[in-house]
């Protein structure tokens, strides 16, 4: 168990390192100085600024400095926004994204599980077909279609929810649905497939032979075993939510990280892009690491040998 976690931890670290290095290399591969776009600066100012950002040092030294700062959780300074620190800019916007993200993850897991369980319990019956039709539609409609659709219908036409922002609890409803619909569909299908398989397993027959009722069998015996793939999916779920939030925040005008990230990409604010990318990467890789640990907790058969669980 300890070995398994340690192993996963080393991998998490390696992945981060590769990404950090790749980010650094890419940002330095951009032709010209990142400061060039600043308006009419004299050569002296240019030199001073380069010195300020450490751009006059050799690449290796820059890299070392960059790693050192990262180790101190210092993500650098924005070049376009009056030298604001990236940390501060992230902390201003991250709160919105985090709240929306957590609400969406919980919604995805809950709704996905309910839909999937219903489908599996009524396998090949009407409710199964209905749940799966909903799931296929959910999977086929990407967030960039779902979000404006919901907004148009429920906010603009029916005026049930606020059109933009996250000021009141009601405002969470539409962004959450738009952000979770694909994940709900995915989890529902995953749960259904595993649970149907689990319900045919021998130990379910043992449980039936004990005289347990159908619901008890599903809740006590099948659900936990069917949850295993969902736990591994949690890492990807986090990634999906973050990816989706980039679009959702744009459409619903939510001042979160996603909107901020796109803005800095469009502005080509390199330190900001670097900082945000690394922040996202840490978040995602850490989630995946936590999902790996959760897997061990759900499944008592500790799978030390399995390099990657669930592919």
């Amino acid at each position: 168990m300890i070995r398994y976690i340690l192993n996963k931890f080393i991998f998490m670290f390696l992945s981060l390192f590769v990404l950090v290095t790749a980010t650094f290399a890419l940002m330095n591969a951009v032709p010209g100085s990142p400061l060039q776009s600043e308006k009419a600066t004299t050569e002296q100012i240019q030199k001073n600024m380069e010195a300020y950002y450490g751009l006059d040092k050799p690449l290796i030294q820059q890299y070392g400095l960059y790693l050192k700062k990262l180790a101190q959780f210092d993500l650098g300074i924005s070049m376009k926004k009056r030298f604001q620190s990236v940390n501060k800019m992230i902390s201003q916007s991250f709160g919105y994204s985090l709240r929306l993200g957590i609400v969406s993850i919980i919604t995805s897991v809950l709704a996905g599980c309910v839909l999937g369980i219903i489908a599996a319990m009524y396998h090949r019956k009407f409710l199964d077909n209905l749940a799966m039709v909903i799931a296929v539609i959910g999977l086929a409609i990407p967030s960039m279609v779902m979000a404006p659709l919901l907004q148009y219908l429920f906010s603009v036409k029916l005026r049930m929810f606020p059109v933009t922002g996250l000021k009141e609890p009601l405002a969470y409803v539409l962004p959450t649905i738009a952000l979770s619909s694909v994940s709900i569909a995915f989890i529902a299908r995953l749960i259904r497939a595993t649970m149907i398989e689990v319900l045919h397993a021998d130990f379910i027959k043992t449980a039936k032979a004990k005289g347990l009722g159908g619901h008890l069998i599903v809740w006590r015996h099948a659900l936990r075993n069917s949850m295993l793939p969902v736990v591994t999916y949690l890492g990807y779920l986090a990634a999906n939510v973050i990816t989706g939030s980039v679009i959702i925040e744009q459409i619903f005008a939510i001042p979160g990280m996603g909107k901020f990230f796109v803005q800095c990409v469009i502005d080509r604010d390199y330190p900001l892009i670097m900082g945000t990318t690394i922040f996202y990467a840490v978040l995602l890789i850490a989630t995946r690491f936590l999902a790996d640990i959760a897997y061990v907790l759900v499944d008592p058969r500790i799978r030390i040998s399995a390099g990657k669980v669930g592919g």
Partner: protein, 338 residues
């Protein structure tokens, strides 16, 4: 002795891709109190389906119970609702499955798995159920039961797991225990231990047992009576002694001949049964065994033989029992065999 289970004219079919498989075709037998009955047959003979139908564990659809009755302890199980049936399962009838590696829930401690039935049927409190579960575990021969009860199935070996499965099946002192190939998936040395255990427990608890197996060897060890099934029908029944000493059906004889015996001469070969059983999507018109039977006659192809009583306890379903079959046996010799 009182009859505890009486199965009459049971027919079960399954809808599969390609047609309807007539898995069980008119099976009748009964089990008395405290008796151990073996149902013997090769895979596909319908023996497992019969067992699972008694427990009402076959999925419907694709399965379908077409005819018959299963009277257990005065009640027809086929007329019970699912809810009523749940009160029978695990409580009055226990079941042991073939593969101990997969028949326990991997994410639940063995203790909980034993306690579940106790808490449901006997309304025991958690602590009382736990106490009883520890008793049961020691009864089935698992040492250090107090500590092992909180372990997960993967901490147990195959033989140990089968002991746990037996403990689950016997938890509520059922009147009938159905063991569906309980030793097939185990090592030979473990097989003997598990059989020994089942036999001891039967003597202690006076439970009736239906032992489903394809292995006549373990039948000799355990059972009072033997039912031989072939292609969804019972072809012969009798006491253990009758079946082993005086088999009447060519299939039973074939099964015995393919079994090595201690008193066999060194150079005497084992005789296999040639061919394969019929496809039950299109059940044969006559005797199911006739295409593989050395003694087959014309009538075997067209008419299903009736059950014929040989003695008070032995019956057989074969045309060779017919009075007219005797003379032809003499004059047809060996020439007709293709």
């Amino acid at each position: 002795m009182k009859t505890i289970l009486d199965v009459q004219d049971l027919s079960v079919s399954f809808d599969v891709y390609g047609g309807v498989v007539q898995a069980v075709r008119g099976v009748s037998f009964s089990v008395k109190e405290g008796e151990a009955v073996a149902i013997v047959g090769e895979s596909g003979s319908g023996k497992s389906v019969t067992a699972q139908t008694i427990m009402r564990l076959i999925a419907t659809p694709p399965g379908k119970i077409n005819r018959g009755s299963i009277v257990f302890d005065g009640q027809d199980l086929l007329s019970l609702s699912e809810k009523e049936m749940q009160k029978v399962r695990g409580n009055k009838i226990g079941m042991i499955f073939q593969d101990p590696m997969t028949s326990l829930n991997p994410t639940m401690t063995v203790g909980k798995q034993i306690m579940e039935g106790l808490m449901k049927h006997q309304r025991l409190s958690r602590s009382a159920a736990k106490k009883r579960a520890i008793e049961l575990l020691s009864m089935v021969g698992i040492p250090h039961a107090e500590s092992r009860i909180s372990q997960y199935p993967h901490h147990f070996s195959g033989g140990m797991r089968q002991r746990v499965v037996i403990a689950i099946a016997l938890a509520c002192n059922p009147a009938l225990l159905i063991a569906d190939e309980p030793t097939t998936a185990l090592d030979v040395t473990i097989q003997a231990q598990i059989l020994r255990l089942m036999k001891d427990l039967q003597q202690q608890t006076k439970t009736s047992i239906i032992l489903i197996t394809h292995d006549l060897g373990i039948v000799a060890d355990m059972c009072d009576r033997v039912i031989v099934m072939y292609a969804g029908q019972i072809v012969e029944t009798g006491t253990k002694r009758e079946i082993f000493r005086n088999p009447q059906h060519p299939y039973t004889k074939g099964l015995l001949n393919s079994l090595p015996r201690l008193d066999q001469a060194k150079d005497e070969p084992l005789v296999p049964i040639y061919g394969t059983p019929p496809d039950l999507i299109k059940p044969p018109q006559g005797c199911g065994f006739c295409s593989r039977c050395d003694e087959a006659m014309r009538i075997c192809e067209t008419d299903v033989p009736e059950m014929t009583a040989i003695s008070d306890t032995q019956t057989v379903r074969c045309w060779l029992q017919h009075v007219r079959a005797r003379p032809t046996e003499m004059d047809s010799g060996k020439g007709a065999s293709a």
